[in-house]
Structures are given as C-alpha cells and as structure tokens.
C-alpha cells in the first residue's frame, strides 16, 4: 500500500482530547494542503470524538481498548496500525506522555524520531523536514528521517495553531483497528491514578506569571499568584524559589523544570539565568519587571520595567481589579 496519510496520535487525558492533538491536526491539515495526503487521527479507547473531525481529521483510526493509558499497550496498537496502513508520517504532542510513548514506537518500528519540533515542512515527494531547538533554543536543527520507514516527530505544545472548527460537510471515516495485545503489554500495573496536586498545566497555559527570587525576597509570592489568577494564567517560579520550598517542583520553569511557550510570559523579579531563559524564550511576548536594570532577563524581554516590586505588584493588582469592577458596572 502506498504511504499517504499524515497521522496524529490522539492524546487523551481524563477522557478529553488534549489541546496539543487539535493543534497537530491543524498542522497536519496545513501540511496536507494541495497534496494527496489525508489527515488521520489515531485514537485508542473512548468513544470516537467528533472534535477530531471538526479540527481536521479525514479519518479516525480507532482502537477499542477499554483501559487507561499504558505505554506498552498503546505502542502495540500504534505499531500494528502503522504496519497495516503504512502512513507517511506520525505526529505526537511533545507532552510527557508523547515524549515517553513516541521513542518506544519509533524504536519498535526501527525508524527515526525527532523531539520537540517547532516547525514542520513537507517537501514534494513526502519528505518531512522536522525543525527543533537545541541547546535551549540557542540553535535550531532541521532533521530528516533516514530510510523509507514512517517519519515520526513529537511537536511542542502551543506552537502549532488548531483549525477553526470546520463548517459544512466532510467525510467522517472511522476505521476500526485490530487490538491484539500480548501479556507483556500489560506487564506494568497501574495501582493508582489521580490528578496531580498542582492542577494548572504550565505548558498549556496561555499566560504564565513567574516569580523569581526578587518576589520571594519581598514576600510577594501570594501577590504573584494573584496576578496569575487575574490574568487567567498559571503561576510559575524559578529554580531558586522552588529550591527554597516556596513553590512546587512542577511549577518550575527552566532547564530542569518545565519548558513553556505561552502567548504572554510575565517575569517578576526574575534575573534571567541561562537555565531559566532556555525554558521560556519560546514565549510570544515576554514582559519583565526587575529592580536591576542590567538583569539578563531584559535581553530576552519585549517589554521591561525597572522598579521595586513592593510598589509595582500591589498597584498593578489594584489597577486590574478596579478595571474589572468598572467593567462589571
């Protein structure tokens, strides 16, 4: 069979399709534009979600597997499907789940894998150019899969744009996948599963407000959290603040924490160590407030304000609250 489809692994969390899946369907649609390639989602478990079609899938390959995510069982289903239907490319979200599942799938299929791509291009002939940051975004590399096997990439959340919901008519083809699990696929036992304590997902937030040491020093962490809430965003912290026990490890942005690329990144009292910068320089807009005019954060920020957070932060919060109150009148 000819390799034609561009596949997107449909990542589910608590029965919901992950936002990155819809972003990838949008990107797959753009890649397929003007070509003969179809866009397909691979969905394991659950009912077939209509939104997969609405956001760009022509086909949903569906495996009826009534159990929670396990790397090995999903690897089995995906690899069997790839062998049967021979897609051109397979995209995963570069979430923790995607980044642990994709290497397993690629290695079993003996094909290449590029991690955390931020740009994809499809050349005539079907070669997928996979571009990704390295060295914390100081360098970009374009990567090609060697050989004739399926081209696999994980793609960073929040970089690709989902399609507006499609209007009108389109085919909604569902192809049922054979599920033939082996005992070894069930070797890892899930004893418990629950939402993590810090519920907000940094890597999926549109707005991230980060507290650096400058916030901690003046005891303004609650204010920083409040600002995050007021802006409809997620609270984050630098490593120094996390190490001091003032924020959770899951809230740490930077090299040894989470990498974020929100629409707006607000750095409060963050000096801008390289290890921090590499975790946030993908943000579309960076606003920084710092006492030190020479702080390295101002070298990556789009908008900067030098000043004392003890004056600025409470006033800023007051201002936003006042606007809201006015707006409500």
């Amino acid at each position: 069979m000819e390799r034609k489809d561009i596949w997107v692994y449909a990542e589910c969390r608590n029965g919901q399709i992950a936002p990155v899946t819809l972003e990838l369907l949008g990107e797959a649609r753009r890649l397929a534009e003007g070509t003969e390639h179809s866009v397909a989602a691979v969905l394991i478990g659950g009912p077939v979600a209509h939104e997969l079609f609405e956001h760009g899938a022509d086909i949903v390959y569906h495996a009826d597997l009534a159990e929670d995510f396990r790397t090995l069982s999903h690897t089995r289903v995906i690899c069997d499907a790839v062998k049967t239907y021979q897609p051109l490319a397979l995209l995963f979200g570069a979430t923790a789940l995607g980044r642990s599942l994709a290497p397993r799938v690629a290695s079993r299929l003996q094909t290449g894998l590029s991690a955390d791509c931020t740009d994809l291009k499809l050349l005539p002939g079907g070669t997928l150019v996979q571009t990704r940051p390295a060295f914390g975004g100081n360098l970009y590399a374009s990567i090609l899969t060697q050989g004739e096997n399926v081209q696999i990439a994980t793609v960073r959340p929040h970089v690709m744009r989902p399609l507006e919901k499609r209007e009108g008519r389109w085919s909604e083809e569902v192809i049922a996948l054979d599920v033939k699990l082996k005992d070894e696929d069930l070797a890892v036992e899930i004893l418990a599963r629950k939402p993590a304590a810090s519920a907000s997902r940094l890597d999926e937030a549109d707005v991230v407000v980060t507290a650096g040491f400058g916030v901690q020093r003046y005891g303004l962490l609650d204010e920083a959290r409040e600002l995050a809430r007021l802006l409809g965003g997620a609270f984050a912290a630098t490593r120094k603040v996390v190490d001091a026990g003032k924020a959770a490890p899951e809230e740490q942005v930077g090299q040894t924490g989470v990498t974020v690329a929100p629409k707006l990144y607000v750095a409060l009292g963050v000096s801008g160590a390289v290890q921090h910068i590499v975790g946030m320089q993908g943000a579309k807009k960076i606003v920084a407030v710092n006492l030190d005019p020479n702080a390295p954060i101002f070298r990556v920020a789009d908008v900067g304000l030098r000043g004392d957070l003890r004056d600025i932060l409470p006033e800023l919060i007051r201002m936003i609250k006042e606007e809201r109150a006015d707006g409500a009148l």
Partner: protein, 264 residues
C-alpha cells in the same frame, strides 16, 4: 545481588553557553563540560536503592558513552559512591542519534546484566528524553519515564512500585524487573561527592569499544542513526526590549493586555 546501571552523560555547561550577538554563532567551545544535572539525581536514586537493599546487597554501575574527556563524569559518579564505572569510547560511536545511542547503551547493558537501569529525564544539551525509552524498547523491557520519587523495591526484587507524573496526572505503577526508569530532578537531592572515592576510581574505569560490545560499525554513529541533521541555524535575535518609563505601572498594565482577550 541486585545490579543497578545508571546511564550518565557529559554535557556542556549551559551557564557558559552564549550566542555571539555579532556573528549569531554559539560559543560552545568555551563552555566547560559537566555531568548532566538530571543524571546526578539518577545516581542518587540508585545509591539510595542500594542503601535500602538487604540480603546480598546491590551494585551500582555508572555507564557513559562519549569521547576521552567524558571519563570525567564517571569520576563524578565515583565521587558519589558508585561501585563500577564503564566508559564506552570508540570513534565509531561519534554522531549517533538517539536510536543508535540507545542501541549502543543497550548492548553494554546486555553485557552488564542489570536488574534496573536508571537514566535522567533528559540531557540538557539534546533535550530529547528519548534514549531511556528507546533503550527499554531495544532491550524488550518495560519502562517508566518521569519518575518523581524513590521507587520502592519489593522484597523478592522482581518488581517495584513507583510514582510518576505525566501531564498533570499522578500515577502509581508496579513495574516488573528488569526495567528502565527515567527520573525527574525533584526525585532526590544529590549527596555531596567524596574526593577520596573519586580518586580511588581513577585507575579502575573500564573502557569498552565497538569490539567489546560486539556491534558492527554500521550499527553505530551516523551509519546506525535513523535521523540526519540536514542543517543547523541560529534563530534571529529577539528585538531589543522596550523599557517603560520608571514608575509607569499604567504602561505595564497595558503591556499585559494583548493576549488577555475579553477579560481586560
């Protein structure tokens, strides 16, 4: 005896990496090489599992692949207290992508026969997080990535219970051994190194090459890789920062509005 293999990597110290604003090139050469910070945690987890293991105890082996200079990270591991250090060093390994690297490490693991392999979540130079799971697949072992705490080894040493967080979902898993795990930085605070332990290992690092591993040249390096870098480039520098007048909190407020949508 329980045998734990920890895969570690030498990486450039990113605090010293900078981009030359004039040329746009990376000043990589000036950066000193250090032990990947996630791997310190992996070593710590291994040593703590060993400390808790009764019966005939445990052996912790540090394994790295890299050029001559990479032996420095094995000495770092020795300073923390590992029992054995193995350095995979061969010109044929150069240029390996994650698939080829995992294949080489898996070949070394087969020779060493560990019950458990621990890796850091990812290396801070490549940031792929792929080698651990890929190695598990090539060994046909189960794996658990993103482990957040010290795993509890069951008395029979045939399985362990561990916790990990995947995208805001906490999981408690029972994983049969042998297995591969990758650990988050927060899983354990690394201990301080001992100079004596480090010095004692200097002459004892084992050095393995292609022949020792029984691999063919075509399995390794560029030839054994499933990906190829077609080009590299530095991103365009960000435009200069617009500094607001001091004390202009109103302007600061306005700068936060763009993405706020209907809320402002």
């Amino acid at each position: 005896m329980l045998r734990i293999l920890v895969c570690i990597k030498q990486v450039p110290n990113t605090t010293e990496i900078s981009v030359d604003r004039e040329t746009g090139l990376l000043n990589r050469e000036r950066a000193a090489a250090v032990l990947n910070p996630f791997d310190e945690t992996a070593l710590e987890i291994a040593l703590r599992i060993k400390a808790r293991t009764g019966g005939d105890g445990a052996e912790v082996i540090a394994l790295t692949m890299g050029p001559e200079a990479a032996r420095a990270v094995l000495l770092d591991a020795a300073g923390l207290g590992v029992d054995r250090c193995v350095h995979l060093c061969d010109a044929a390994f150069r240029g390996s992508d994650t698939y080829a690297t995992a294949k080489i490490l898996a070949a070394a693991a087969k020779k060493l026969g560990p019950d458990l392999i621990i890796c850091g979540r990812q290396a801070i130079d490549g940031d792929t997080a792929q080698v651990g799971p890929s190695m598990a697949e090539q060994l046909h072992w189960p794996e658990a990535a993103y482990v957040t705490a010290l795993p509890q080894l069951h008395p029979a040493k045939t399985s362990m219970t561990l916790c990990r967080t995947l995208d805001g979902v906490e999981e408690e898993l029972r994983v049969p051994l042998p297995a591969v795990i990758t650990v988050q930085k927060s899983a354990a605070e690394p201990r301080l190194p001992s100079y004596q332990l480090r010095a004692a290992m200097t002459e004892k690092i084992e050095r393995w090459d292609l022949k020792t591993l029984g691999l063919a040249k075509e399995d390794c390096g560029l030839a054994g890789s499933k990906t190829r870098v077609s080009r590299t480039f530095t991103p365009p520098p960000r435009p200069l920062c617009t500094m607001l007048p001091e004390g202009d909190i109103l302007a600061l407020r306005a700068s936060l509005k763009i993405t706020e949508g209907g809320k402002a």
